[in-house]
């Protein structure tokens, strides 16, 4: 056994390179063509072959004319099944949409669209990304499409390309396994992992040129939110807190007063990835407390704002900070 394992591991890189050459990355909607569709009998199919041989030997021995016919009928049925298994994948079209960005460590769900142009349904189409434990399986009705979210574990911030897919099916009878490899051009953005227990938001922010943003004292009351570590004591709304059994913090709405600058350079002394993690955690905190925030990276600056788009811009910048996965 160790011998074969060693042999396998020796050949694996060559095999992978061969597959990569034979199945290059394709963009847009990709149709499964017959040149790249493979088919072999499964163990079950080989069992069916054994039944055929048993019948044939029996027919020979007992000079059973109809036994011959029956044995050959099994062969003919196997052929009909082979064609169906092959046609089940032939001509299927796949495309990969843009996945929702996730934080490193979470699963990226690549949205795959499977388009079936023919009238017959396609059964049990199994899709597995390379080196992933989870696979997805679906039926596609005739002249219809199916959406499939294929989970791929993200390990590192940056860009995560969809690994090469193995698309396989043993339907309709399980006697044959038909498969192909497909490299789609799906790419996911992976934000840095938020630091699990970050220090409180910095009370004030500073731009790298030293211009201070002063928090003014006269703010409009904007609402309440839950206490978080690092909140100032004088911001606690004692009366409301007493009523709700939660410590609530008065929120103020003031364009300047609450503005927060999150500065990469201020975190000097920490490794780059830790800094990115912390900034991510802070951005999420600021967004959830509705406190406008700006982000300053060595090469980029995002002026303070709030909202979905701003959040996405800031986190993408962190994700694509040099040194991540591409």
């Amino acid at each position: 056994m160790p011998m074969t394992a060693a042999l396998l591991s020796f050949w694996r890189p060559y095999w992978q390179r061969f597959l990569a050459r034979r199945h290059p990355v394709e963009s847009g909607k990709v149709r499964i063509r017959h040149q790249r569709l493979y088919i072999l009998p499964t163990l079950y199919g080989l069992g069916f072959g054994m039944i055929f041989i048993t019948m044939l030997v029996g027919a020979l021995n007992y000079q059973l004319s109809l036994g011959f016919f029956f044995a050959f009928l099994l062969l003919g049925v196997a052929h009909a099944i082979l064609l169906r298994t092959y046609a089940n994948l032939l001509g299927l079209q796949l495309s990969c949409g843009t996945p929702i960005p996730v934080f490193a460590g979470e699963n990226v769900y690549f949205p795959l669209t499977l388009l079936n142009e023919k009238r017959q349904p396609r059964f049990g189409v199994n899709i597995q990304a390379r080196q992933q434990a989870e696979s997805a399986s679906t039926h596609i009705p005739g002249q219809d499409h199916q959406l499939l979210a294929l989970p791929v574990k993200s390990r590192q911030r940056g860009l995560l390309a969809l690994p090469r897919l193995t698309i396989s099916s043993t339907m309709p009878l399980g006697f044959f396994r038909c498969w192909t490899y497909l490299a789609l051009d799906g790419v996911a953005l992976v934000y840095p992992q938020p630091e699990p227990d970050p220090p409180p938001l910095p009370d004030h922010g500073a731009l790298s040129d030293g211009k201070k943003m002063q928090a003014s004292g006269n703010e409009d009351f904007a609402g309440l939110r839950e206490f978080q570590r690092g909140d100032a004591l004088h911001d606690i709304a004692w009366k409301q807190s007493a009523r709700t059994e939660q410590i609530l913090i008065r929120q103020h709405q003031s364009p300047i007063g609450a503005t927060l600058w999150l500065n990469f350079d201020e975190l000097a002394g920490l490794p780059v990835e830790v800094r990115l993690s912390r900034l991510t955690a802070w951005i999420l905190q600021a967004e959830s407390t509705q406190r406008p925030y700006g982000l300053a990276l060595p090469a980029q600056q995002f002026p303070p704002a709030l909202g979905h788009d701003h959040l996405h811009r800031c986190l993408s910048a962190l994700a694509q900070y040099p040194g991540g996965a591409t």
Binding site: D144, L147, E226
Partner: protein, 310 residues
Amino acid sequence: MTPQSREMLQRLHQAEQQLNQIILGKAATMRLALIGILARGHLLLEDVPGVGKTTMAHALATVLGLRFARVQFTSDLLPADLLGVSVYERSMEAFRFHPGPIFTQVLLADEINRATPKTQSALLEAMAEQQVTIDGETNALPTPFFVIATQNPQAQIGTFALPESQLDRFLLRLELGYPDAKAERALLQGISRQDVLSGLSPMLSAEQLQEAQQDIAQIKLAEPLLDYIQALISATREDQRFSCGLSTRAALGLVQACKASAWLEARSMVIPEDVQRIFPALAGHRLILRQSGRSDPHIAEQLMYSVAIP
């Protein structure tokens, strides 16, 4: 298209122009708002305060010649405050119904997520049934009757998010967003919105609006478009990212809105553009992400672009 309806269309375009003079740089949103009204749907405006939601609702009501009322929803607003009460009147020796602010043609329900679920559902029931029942007495709401609800999208303490079933009653969800720099500058230079509002004149009457709505029903919807709409609906149902797909009510709304959109462009048939214009606004608030519990119009749009046009 008959000359009659052509004239009506002209008037509506004039109304749209007036709206665009008040709410600057939001022509697409204004068009969607008109589509929503023409398709007899209620609107949900989601935005931060101070971007002109009230102005927009008021202007919309005025140019369409509809009565308008605004109710600020707060946590202490009771259903009776909205619907009205029956008061015993000594002079008549009987209970008399004092209608609440809901008895109007366009109701602006401001910050609907601040009211308690009880008040919310009182409003939503009235929306669904076009009538109000108090103390066993049923009072029909005026026709047409539209609700434009606003809510602040950011989750805050002390608000009650609308449940999914209630969200489904709103045909479209719109966002105004901050005006772009040019529009904001024009706003800052110009006269106040209030003055413009008071200068608005109604462009058509409630009856004419109803005629327009009848006209819209005649718009052709070809088979391939039905296929497209069904493909979109089933795409939302099959996508595992969402906790549930679009309802049949939503699909019907999409058909109505598409027809209204085609009519507004003086076309006699619906084309895929109409579907693509409306779908994100229609599906955005209905598709709740399983992972985060949020809804996101961008994902609806993304989904739309993953479905082929038959």
